[in-house]
Symmetry: C2
Subunit: 147 residues, 2 copies
């Protein structure tokens, strides 16, 4: 799946990502980057809406799980179990979320646990940037669960 295909998948399957005008900038097993324009994601002060930021970061981690495991386990369900968000700086322009995960052992462990116990979990860190300023972070635990 390339960036355009993943954008189409998200926008068709998850209506709120279409409303956010979410685009995929990178889509690989090691790095996911999703971006949104400010206009549909602004608040009453014309800065980035906290709810949009939370949503973008949450779906960025979900996308990393999807990129790594959904092809191998097409019937499994990916869910976020918990997340901790920190809002560091106001967002005044278009913004993006990036998640990098190169821990091959952790990913192999997810697959093993999914096959043995019906579910596997992965901890992911996601950063949010506006104009190259770190604006928010999310530390989340995501599960993939066999249907």
């Amino acid at each position: 799946m390339n960036c355009q295909e993943f954008t189409t998948f998200l926008q068709e399957q998850i209506p709120l990502t279409a409303a956010m005008q979410l685009q995929t900038d990178f889509f690989s097993k090691e790095k996911i980057r999703l971006s949104v324009p400010l206009a549909p994601n602004k608040n009453d002060k014309n800065t980035g809406f906290g709810g949009s930021i939370a949503c973008l970061l949450t779906v960025c981690g979900w996308s990393m799980m999807y990129a790594n495991f959904q092809t191998q386990f097409p019937d499994a369900k990916i869910v976020v179990q918990k997340s901790e968000l920190r809002y560091l700086a106001p967002i005044t322009d278009d913004f993006y979320a990036v998640c990098q995960c190169t821990d091959i052992a952790a990913k192999e462990s997810v697959c093993e646990n999914l096959q043995r116990h019906g579910k596997g979990k992965l901890s992911l860190h996601i950063d949010c940037y506006c104009k190259d300023v770190l604006s928010a972070t999310l530390d989340g635990t995501y599960y993939i669960i066999q249907a």
Copy 2:
């Protein structure tokens, strides 16, 4: 401000809340309840989208701050500083977020700190329900900051 006026305010000022078809069920200084239909807030498995849940809970706490402080401090800015979310059960129908805060001393302390130091903070707990099942929770720290 009544429920309908607050819904109109949110949907006009924060476009994503219009896309979510967010409605205000209760709007008081002690209790805020905001609800959304499932359809615009579903994921690829036709259950509640984690990003929509995060967004709804985040804006519910923000609304509690707004209900308590915005009239008295119209120029101040309300922001979420950090939040911890837990996703407890899948959401299969329309859902709502509720925040209750009756701690008068804590609210007076916010006003005092805002006037003395230019900002005040309040910790809030928000619950998310679907069909009366607790589906997610948010513990958040919100600030009101003098412009």
